[in-house]
């Protein structure tokens, strides 16, 4: 009895959706054509190791902050993996949409400058007319690995 009732509700919903689908303009696709790519077609899900974390932090000069940051990166990579299965044989990379145009060049004449005050107006630290920076070529101090971070540390 319960099964019959459920079946009736199903039919009613089905009919209702069909009604809605029929009332759409014929050129509009009534159902999504897009199907998510099956997991087995994609390359295996990337796991970020400590070496990569260190490398990326050094290159980016921002930190992951916590384990969630690493998961977010892994999700971003997973999302990007979709493009790896597309066949691009013989396709040239497109760097700019204006690739068929010549870039504008102007004559080698000075038309700007003499505005040191404006250029330096937003620097937090200056000395006479110099920007100031600490010493370079000193590597970053390594931190504790984020991969072994506890849940407790997250809540700190």
């Amino acid at each position: 009895m319960h099964r019959l009732w459920k079946h009736n509700i199903f039919l009613e919903k089905f009919w209702f959706l069909q009604q809605n689908a029929r009332s759409l303009n014929s050129k509009i696709p009534p159902t999504p054509i897009v199907k998510p790519i099956e997991e087995n077609k994609l390359p295996p899900r990337t796991k970020i190791d400590q070496k990569t974390i260190d490398l990326l932090e050094r290159l980016s000069l921002v930190d992951f902050a916590n384990k969630k940051g690493i998961e977010r990166l892994e999700d971003a990579i997973r999302f990007a993996d979709q493009i790896r299965v597309i066949d691009t044989t013989g396709v040239e990379p497109m760097i700019s949409v204006l690739e068929d145009r010549t870039l504008y060049l102007h004559d080698d004449i000075v038309t700007d400058g003499n505005c040191r005050k404006e250029v330096m107006s937003n620097a937090a630290l200056t000395e006479e007319s110099y920007f100031v920076a600490p010493q370079g070529n000193i590597p970053l101090i390594p931190r504790d690995s984020l991969l072994t971070e506890d849940e407790n540390l997250d809540q700190k």
Partner: protein, 493 residues
Amino acid sequence: MLSLSVRQISRKLQDGVIVPSDVCTACLYQAEKLKKLNIFVRLTKEVAEHQAKESDVRYTNGNVRSLLDGIPVAVKDNYCTRNIETTCSSRMLESFKPPYNATVVQKLQDAGAVLLGKCNMDEFAMGSGTVDSIHGPTKNIWQSGEKYTLLRNVGERATSVEQVQGCNSTHGSKMVYQELHHLSSHSNKEGSSSPSEEGDWFIAGGSSGGSAVAVASGAVFAALGSDTGGSTRNPAAYCGVVGLKPSYGLLSRHGLIPLVNSMDVPGILTRTVDDAATLLNILAGHDLLDSTTVQDSFIPLDLSQDIDISRIRIGIPKEYNCPGMSDEVMETWSGVADILERAGAEVVQVSMPHTPSSIACYSVLNQCEVASNMARYDGIEFGLRTAENRSTEELYASTRSQGFNETVRGRILAGNYFLLQRNYPHYFLQALKVRRLIAQDFTHAWSSGIDVLLTPTTLTDAPRYSQFISRDNREQCASQDYCTQPANMAGNN
């Protein structure tokens, strides 16, 4: 008065019915009244009043500069404005005062427009909700608890061919305005109680949410946003205003703090299509300071001519029906196709087969260019600087960690991952190739005789804030930008 179009208010100014200073006062009052929506990062009251007074004089003397003279506008907070803080809603630029105006801002000023304020946005334009900002989120005016009056058309809402074809732009826009109002009040009738009672509200969309609400609320008559993956069109859709993404290279990006150099464009937000054309005519054109602007001379648009609809071929790309699209969006898509068909246009279904992979491709290109663009923020020449002085590396790292939010940092790290030597061909180069395939989808459509592609902008109407933040920024952009970013990849409007 505040719901008038640019053309209408300009008429009143020309006729001397009102003066720019009065319009400015009314707009400032409206902006103050709606403070709780958090539209503006900064109201530039003194600047606005000063510019309005100068415009008063021009109208008295009869040397009006343009249709926009004396009319209050707002710009998104990623446009450099001389001596006015430009924060990009980020700690990194919280006290940054550019010594110059962005070219499009300068053009607005030269046209006589009055700058009312800088609008809130997602940090560095990364986001689709205007919720990730150091200044707090911006609320959609619709169903915010603010009272509004519906403008009703004289006569029935147009459904027949003749009324649509024969209407001038003002009439047509009023109809659109009313229909959009109707949609909002309709969802109100579905039984949801006033959001201010529940403590929840509807997002404005992003990342130009502040600009969209500024226009929708009547605080300004037009606003500048920016569009990299849909950042002008998305909030325009959620707030019920017109959002125009011009073709890449038409408007100058000089002074627009960049997100993705190969896709960014300044965006125009107005209440009517006619106004958008007015703004476009003022802002478009080759700029010596932006080498990515095209050198072709710009022919101003003139919408006053009657269009022969029967000569227009409209394409419906079937791949744009994506999972998660609401019934209402589908019905609207269908309804517009019906209207155009009945008016005599030829409506055909077309295929743009690479659309489903477009958003993944966009995410790679976006993150890679971001990784490069954000490298300039090191605390030395401008922006936030921490007290760290053990080494330059430590200074950069600590400044950037404090200055950027999680979304920005996440994109920089992801971008640098894709640019690693071992990943470069599989992700970045591959994405550039897929980009060509996507651009080719558009070229094929145009060359097969299609004049206009008709697609939805967003998957649903504006979601509630609580619903929106249940997924993180990266996840949201990965689904919300589905319909809008292919146009950015191909450069089209």
